[in-house]
Structure formats: C-alpha cells, structure tokens
C-alpha cells in the first residue's frame, strides 16, 4: 500500500477504530460486547510510555478475555497453521473442536489451579499442522494430535534459560568453526550447556557442519522450550500461534500485510486483530507468572517422605533428564526474544526491548541463588528432547503425526516444577496419576523407570510424595 491517499484512508480508519477502543477502555458504550478492554501501541511501549506493570495488567486482561467476532475471533478463510495459510471461506463453523478455533479465551484452558495454569482433559487441544485443506486435515481426528494444556507458570525463567543455552551452544559452534578454519582441520565439539549434553557436531575447515551426532536439539542449535515437543522458541511465538489456532485472533506481525498483503488475512471483516503491543502485553503477563515452588506438607512424616523421595528421585536416575536445578546467569527478561524467527517481533524491529527483572519474583517463590549469584531455577528438566517410548512401554508414542520435524516418540523433557498441581499427566493428559506416568516411561527413560519399579512400594510412594510437593500457586499443603 504505497499510495499515500490509500494509506491516509487506512490510517484514518485505524484512528477511528483506535478511538473506539480508547473510548471502550474508558467506558464501554451501552451494549458493547467486545471483550478486549484495551489495545496497546508498540511504539508507545518502545518509547517507554507504558510501564511494565501496565503491560502485565493489560496482558492479564487479554489472557482472560473471551474474544468476540467484533474484535476478530474466528478465521473463516484461514487455517490454524503457523504459516499464513488460506482456507476455503466459511466451510467450517466458527468453532470446531479439532481444527479450531476451539476456545474463547486463553484462560479457557490455562486455568488449573489458577489463571495461566494447566487444564483438565476436557481442555485438550488438537494440534495439526493445518497446511492441508480443512476436510482432509481436520475432520478426521486421526490427522491431528491431541494434547493436554501445559501450565505457564515460571515461563519467563524458562525462556531465559533456553536463550542462555542457545547462546552457549552457538558460541561453542562458532569457536569450533573458527578453529577449523584457522587450523585447516575438522574440529569435533561436544556441545554442553548448564551441564546438559546435546551431542556433538563436527565443523570442517570449509565451514560445513556435520550435525548427525546432535542429540535432543535442532540443527540450528536453538533450544525451543515451549510445547510438549519443544518446537517453540519463545512465549511470543507460542502466543502468536495459539491466538490463531485456538481463537482465530491473528497477530499483525505474522498474518498482517507484511507477509500476506492484507490486513484481514482471515477475511472476518476485522483488520489488524492483535498488534505487536498487545502481544508484548500478553507475553509480559505470562513471563511474570510466578514460578512453581515446593510446598511441604504439614506433617513431619510426610515432610520426611518428601526429602527421602527427592533423594530417591536422584538416586534412580530420574534427575539425569529431569534436572532439578538449572543455573540462570541473568534474571532480566527482555522482550522480544533475540532468536525469534520472522513472523514474530524481533529485537531489530523495536527501538528498545522491554525489560523486567524476574529475580525478585523468583526469590519470592523460593528460587535460590548459588555462590556466583546465579538463580538456581528448580525446573526439573534438561530442556532437551528424548525418545520416551519403546516397544515395552509404547504409551507415550500414542500420537499419529510427527510434529515439526520431531518424531512421534520424542518429546521435550517435561518440566516437573508444579507437577503436583497439574494432573492429569502425559502430553495427552490421559494419565490420571504420577505413578502411572512414571510407569509409562520408555526409550531413554527405560532404565530409570525400571529402577523405579524395582523400588519397594514405600520408596515409590516417597518419590510420588516428593513430586506432589512441587506446586503452583498458594495451595494449602497436604
């Protein structure tokens, strides 16, 4: 749209719409059913005119809002795919359980035990790639995978850990490449970050890289900590995808004119449904959800069981993947993520990043620091993908499609912080107890699972008691 008059008209239309929204923020007109209370301009955020507190507050309102058609809910001419993909208009109804949109609000699923949390089995989502036509891809449920709702608490720290790990791995690769070029010989480098091994790669003197020995990380060495497959880099990317897939609310930075040539890609009559500022608010709300914490039970006996269970958890090898604590060098969360791909706001596209120091929030949740001042984040994960099923224990390979280059039996190590508050378990939310979930572990976890099964029942119960002490929110201890 380079015609100045065309731009003027569009700008005026935006002005009018913005005015209506502003009016709505002050006092909704009589009979106005729109759910979004306030829109935020990324330029104002860039200019420092919007406080972090306001971002979090508005982000929560967005998270709670039951989106309406008036503000863009629904996507009659677009699929739920992560790449803008047109669909035959109006073939599917506004809501559709498998293909989506399947939810009114973020909170509709993320609500257990509190806003931002996990979800009951009834809140499962069907995740399909969404690239094919709707009839084939979605009406038949065998062409999508069913997933439980993950809790988002502590996800700001999670994203920060992933960023630091990505930086570590890439620095090791960069050093290997420089050495290979300098010395004229292939260099093999073992990739590790925060004590976690991600296999190895070999850099040849001409700069080509053999990635066949990588383990549990993508070939671009980006640690993607979100989704149960570990396929999303940032809260922002996860949110852009989810808004489209689950609500038909399309973010400008992915579905706007820059990549689609139109401000109304889903052809629902609403242009520019979710602006960059709105997304920044949503991200800041999620990033500052308090980290899960350990809540010890009241009775001394149970407390002793928790302590013993934690020791057993480590002793039988669970902690080799569910790493109890990962060190975080800096708790300063900046938005946007430097590893975001196009279609998600990137640092070069804003004048300055929004920053919030999560250290205080972490300390309030009992996150300790080590002697070097690093936050020791009790996340119980290695941020790595593993094969989690085998012929003996196939349950966790119960999906029918591989997702985004990740095979069916491979999942990101589940973060166990908060696991005591987030039943049901497993990526499909179809496991009712932790005991069952442990017994479904196969693949890379087979040895630890056997060790668990070899424990006496009392030992097994202690491990369960320990896991149940990892809580979200301020629930009354057992």
């Amino acid at each position: 749209m380079t015609d100045p008059w065309q731009r003027l008209r569009a700008w005026l239309a935006g002005l009018v719409a913005g005015g209506l929204v502003a009016v709505g923020a002050m006092a909704a007109p009589v009979g106005d059913e729109r759910a979004i209370p306030e829109r935020l301009d990324q330029a104002a955020i860039d200019a420092g005119d919007v406080s972090v507190e306001k971002l979090i507050r508005v982000g929560r309102l967005w998270f709670e809002a039951k989106f309406t058609r008036a503000e863009g809910a629904g996507r009659p001419a677009a699929t739920g795919a992560i790449i803008p993909t047109p669909a035959e208009p109006d073939v599917l109804p506004l809501f559709f359980r498998t293909a989506g949109p399947d939810s009114n609000a973020c909170r509709g699923c993320h609500n257990d035990p509190e806003i931002g949390g996990a979800g009951d089995f009834v809140a499962n989502a069907f995740v399909s790639e969404g690239f094919s036509d709707a009839d084939f891809d979605t009406v038949d449920p065998q062409f999508s995978n069913e997933r439980g709702t993950p809790a988002l608490h502590g996800s700001g720290l999670v994203e920060l850990l992933a960023r630091e790990m990505t930086r570590d791995l890439r620095a090791q690769r960069r050093a290997a490449a420089a050495k290979a070029r300098r010395e004229g010989e292939a260099v093999r480098v073992e990739l590790t970050s925060k004590g976690v091994s991600f296999g190895a790669l070999t850099v040849h003197p001409d700069g080509f890289v053999d990635v066949s020995a990588l383990d549990g990380v993508d070939q671009d060495l980006i640690i993607r900590p979100f989704s149960q497959k570990g396929v999303f880099t940032s809260l922002r990317q996860f949110t852009v995808n989810a808004l489209n897939a689950h609500h038909g609310m399309q973010a400008v930075e992915r579905f706007g004119a820059r990549y689609t040539g139109t401000e109304d890609f889903d052809r629902d009559g609403v242009a520019d449904e979710v602006g960059p500022g709105d997304l920044t608010a949503l991200v800041m709300f999620q990033a500052t959800l308090p980290p899960p914490r350990q809540v010890l039970p009241r009775g001394a006996g149970r407390r002793a069981a928790v302590a013993a269970g934690e020791n057993l958890f480590e002793a039988i090898g669970c902690a080799s993947c569910h790493v109890p604590r990962l060190p975080l060098d800096s708790g300063v969360f900046s938005e946007p993520n430097p590893f975001n791909p196009a279609g998600n706001l990137r640092p070069g596209e804003v004048d300055r990043a929004v920053q919030v120091d999560l250290a205080e929030l972490a300390a309030a949740s009992g996150v300790e620091t080590d002697d070097a001042g690093r936050l020791m984040v009790p996340v119980y994960s290695d941020f790595k993908r593993h094969v989690i099923a085998d012929g003996e224990r196939p349950h966790f390979a119960n999906e029918l499609l591989s997702q985004r280059f990740v095979n069916r039996d491979v999942f990101l190590t589940a973060r166990l912080w908060g696991v005591g508050s987030t039943a049901p378990y497993g990526h499909r939310g179809d496991v009712t107890t932790l005991h069952e979930a442990i017994r479904h572990h196969g693949g890379d976890a087979a040895e630890s699972r056997r060790a668990f099964e070899d424990l006496a029942e009392e030992g097994q119960r202690k491990i369960i008691e320990f896991l149940l002490s990892l809580r979200i929110g301020l629930e009354t201890p057992r």
Binding site: M1, Q219, P338, P341
Partner: protein, 537 residues
C-alpha cells in the same frame, strides 16, 4: 487547514503498510570496487557481471566486464552482515580487453568454478585454479573462441556426459556486407568430446537473429533442456525469438509455428526465468525496449505455446517511474530474487538508454519489482533507494555479505558500477532482517558437480517454491553458488531435489535462516557457517 496538513504529514510519516521493500545502502564509495564498462558501438551492449566464489571461502566474488577497459576480478572480503568490501585482484589471465560478459561454470568438473568469457573477438575459457587464479584453457580444452561479437552464453550437461555443452550467442556480424542491419551472426553450440576432456567441433545455429541472452531451460519438465535465445529486432530482418531443441543424436532443430511456437518480435536483451505462476513450469521474463515480457505456457507442457502475462501482473516496466522522462524504457539484465525474503519472488531490471536513442528515455532508472501474494508485481525502485540514472547493463543480486539479504551490484556504461547493500528493514548502521531465508548448494558426483539442470523444491506450509539450476540468461553475466530462497514466516522447510537425470532426492528437513549443502544420496543437509560466525547471535 493546518490540522489537515499535520494529519497528512503524520500519515506520510507512518511506516509503509503492505508488502515491504528492502532498503539499500550505497556502499560503492568505501567498497574498494571501482569499475567502468566503456567503449564504442560494440560495447553499447554487454557489460555483464558474474558473481561466484573463486577462493572457496563461501563468499561470492565478482567478475566485471570492462568493454575497452580490462575486465576485472574482485575478491569479496565483506564481513558477515557488514558493509560490502572488495579487493581488486591482479591476474593477467583475467584482465582481458573487449570483454562483454562472463558466466561462472565448472567446465572440467574439478570442483572449482571456471569462467566462460564473452568478447568482441575471441571468446576465452578460463580454468579456475583456486584462490581466484585462472589460466587460459582454450587450447587445452580444444575450444575455438572464434572472432564473433559474443553477447550470450548458456551451458547444460547432457545425459552421460561429464563435460557440458556450451552455447554462445552472437550479435551482429561486423564483417558481413551491409552490416549491421540484417546481418546477424550465427550462434554456436560446442558439444563435449564423447571421451570428455574438451570440446568437439561446434555446430552453428542458423539463422542467428542477434542474440543478447541465452538460456538452457527445461520449459516442459521433460528432462530435455532447450535453448532459448532472446534476439534484438533492431538488427535482424525476418527474425524473432527462438527456441532450439538440441540433441546429441540429431541436428539442432528450431521450434516453429508447427510446434505451437508463436512469433515474438522484441528488442530482446535479457532473460530471467522463474515459475512465476507456480504451475510447476518455468516462466521467462524477457527484457526489451518499451514493454518487457513474461512468457508463460498457455496450453500446458505438451507444446511450447507461450503467451504473455507481463501486463496482467504489472511487470511491463515500460516507462521510467521517476526522473521526469516519459519515453519508453530500455531493459537489459533481469534477475528474479526474493529481496525481502517474504517468499514471494521479486524481480530486478537494469535499465538504460542504448547510448543516445532519442525515442527512448535517457533518464531511465533501474526497476525493483516486488512480488505480491496475489501474483502482481509492484515497482519499488525509489522506495528501495536504488533509483539512479546511469545507463545500466549487467547486474547481480547475490548475498555478498552472507546475511540472508540479497545485495545488488550493477554495471553501468561509462560510469562507475554501483554497489548496493541490502539493509532489510534497517538503516546503513543497522541491518534489520525481513523474512526468513534459506540458501542452498547442490553437489553430486561426476562432471556436473553443481547439478546444473536440477530442480529444487522448498516446501513451506502449503506452498512449494521451486528453482531450476541453470547457467545462462540475464544480460552477459550470471551467478553461481548459493541458491537463495526467501521463505517468509517459515521456520522450517522440507527440501527435495530433482537431480539432472530426473531422480528425486528424499525430502530433507532444514531449519531456515541458514546456508546448507545438499549432497546427492544423503538424506541430511550439511549446514554451513559464514566465516565470521553467525548472523545476529
């Protein structure tokens, strides 16, 4: 009134909405590249630039034709993501006079790119020796460079041959009675010796119609690669555009009306090919004076019946868009490249008056046409910052600083070549990436190591982006090495290759925003790291 003025000014200051052009910075002054294409009538045409990696460091170096000035070779020493910088190389084998253009191609299959140098006079094949050194190989390879006025080149590999077939397109036969009008020179095809190691006697493609660009391309996806020639109607009599079927078993045959070939008379200057309409078959953009053409198959692939879609798609680019001149444009080099990485192919067209043709624009800026999702193209030359009024000829769109954004080098008649750094959405001080991208190299065993004639398919979501690997086209210059794909918002892509013999590779999984090499027989690609590390991280 004042309020309206403020409103209007605010509106115009807003960031542009819609498909966005990249911005280019003029890096010439500090680039170390200083070169002029010059000469009299014989150098009104030509002026090509070749981009290829001659020292194996992954950066594309530059060869520029000089006309009466010596041709020049520049080593690319640009830092990854940095300003564009070059070092002039002193190599007597390369610094030839009377050069109109050059194309990089690994003729002897040794893994080092060679150069086919087009001249007014004897053409020269330069064997690449590594580290940007070259040696004349006409005699060693049994190649007779002739004495024509050569302005076009293309190469292909035939089934079972380790050496390529070379096609040289010639312009006016200067020695013919009555020259220049109606005296177009024959064109020539040099088949490889059956035993390899060099070339057999050339075959003449007669009649010649003053070719200014040539391209072997598999227009019907039959596995045969026919030779398209775009010809200058200024000098031919009774001529037209041509498509030749070449076979090792039979004499060259010109497609005719009987085959469905439609006569087209243009001032054909350059060829760019890409599957614009995403029907699986290549389309051909032909530069000319006035309207440029987009030739598209109209009756499927059974017959070479081509119609035109340039007007429909906004690609005629027939008149200057700035500078005040309203006379028709003169187009030369054309090249498809996704300059903003939005996954929709864009097109650059070099423009400039032949010399002083009064019926055509004298202030004739180069075009940058942005592709839109609906198949239209929109000129953004001015917004991109590349609108100059030199008499441009050759050009290359290559990612010279390895940041994923195609940069631009333009060769001009009589004035300095232009060096443009793609800033994406940023400024000269800070490049800001646009869409995601992928750059690929192909490798296979045998003489045709770089898989010329292969097709690459990149699957992103529900779309398939395809490229044919060719040697030829443009105007007097070509690009080798990295094959660039803009992939928009895609973070991952599935890639497969149809190798030149027709065999398909497996689908190969690749993350975007990286360089990678695909080797035949391997199901995993090898990422490649730029010399100074990675972009932006």
């Amino acid at each position: 009134m004042k309020a309206w003025a403020i409103l209007l000014a605010t509106c115009l200051a807003l960031p542009a909405w819609g498909i966005e052009p990249p911005r280019y910075a003029d890096d010439r002054a500090g680039s170390g590249l200083s070169h002029v294409y010059d000469g009299g009538w014989e150098f009104f045409v030509g002026g090509g630039v070749a981009a290829f990696d001659c020292d194996g460091d992954g950066r594309q170096d530059l060869h520029l034709a000089g006309g009466t000035n010596p041709s020049a070779l520049y080593r690319n020493v640009s830092a990854a993501g940095g300003v564009l910088r070059f070092e002039a190389l002193d190599d007597a084998a390369v610094a030839l006079p009377d050069v109109t253009g050059a194309y990089p191609v690994d003729i002897d299959g040794d893994g080092i790119l060679d150069l086919a140098v087009l001249r007014v006079g004897e053409n020269v094949l330069l064997k690449g020796k590594g580290n940007c050194r070259f040696e004349r190989a006409n005699e060693a390879w049994g190649f007779d460079g002739g004495d024509a006025w050569t302005t076009a080149f293309a190469a292909r590999w035939d089934e079972g041959r380790d050496w390529p077939t070379l096609a040289f397109g010639n312009y006016v036969d200067r020695g013919a009675p009555g020259s220049p009008f109606g005296t177009c020179h024959d064109n020539f095809v040099f088949p490889p010796k059956p035993e390899g190691g060099g070339f057999a006697e050339p075959a003449a493609l007669n009649p010649g119609h003053c070719a200014l660009s040539a391209l072997f391309s598999d227009w019907d996806r039959s596995g045969e690669r026919d030779l398209r020639l775009t010809n200058d109607r200024q000098y031919y009599r009774g001529g037209q555009e041509q498509l030749w079927r070449l076979s090792s078993e039979a004499a060259p045959r010109l497609y005719s009306r009987r085959d469905g070939w439609r006569r087209l008379n243009i001032w054909g200057m350059g060829i760019a090919s890409h599957d614009v309409n995403e029907d699986g078959y290549p389309d051909y953009f032909l530069t000319s004076m006035g309207d440029n053409k987009l030739r598209v198959l109209t009756e499927g692939a059974k017959r070479p019946v081509f119609g035109d879609q340039a007007g429909k798609r906004g690609m005629t680019a027939h008149r200057p868009y700035t500078g005040g001149d309203i006379l028709p444009s003169t187009g030369w080099h054309a090249e498809f490249r996704d300059v903003n990485n939005d996954s929709y192919m864009d097109l650059f067209i070099a423009k400039g008056n032949v010399e002083a043709m009064k019926d055509f624009a004298s202030r004739d800026p180069n075009n940058l046409l942005l592709g839109h999702p609906d198949g239209r193209f929109e000129n953004v030359g001015e917004a991109a910052g590349i609108a100059t009024f030199a008499r441009s000829r050759g050009a290359t769109l290559a990612d010279l600083n390895l940041d994923g954004l195609p940069d631009l080098v333009v060769v001009n008649r009589k004035v300095e070549a232009e060096v443009w750094r793609n800033l994406g959405a940023g400024t000269a001080d800070q490049t800001v990436p646009m869409g995601n991208w992928l750059q690929l190299k192909l490798r296979q065993e045998g003489g045709n190591r770089n898989a010329v004639g292969a097709w690459i398919e990149v699957r992103i979501g529900a779309r398939t982006l395809s490229r044919e690997v060719t040697v030829g086209g443009g105007h007097a210059g070509g690009t080798a090495d990295w094959i660039h794909f803009g992939v928009g918002t895609a973070e991952r892509a599935r890639v497969r290759v149809q190798w030149p013999d027709g065999e398909w590779s497996d689908w190969i999984r690749l993350y975007t925003n990286q360089f990678a090499r695909i080797t035949r027989g391997q199901s995993q690609a090898e990422p490649w790291l730029p010399p100074e590390g990675e972009d932006g991280s």
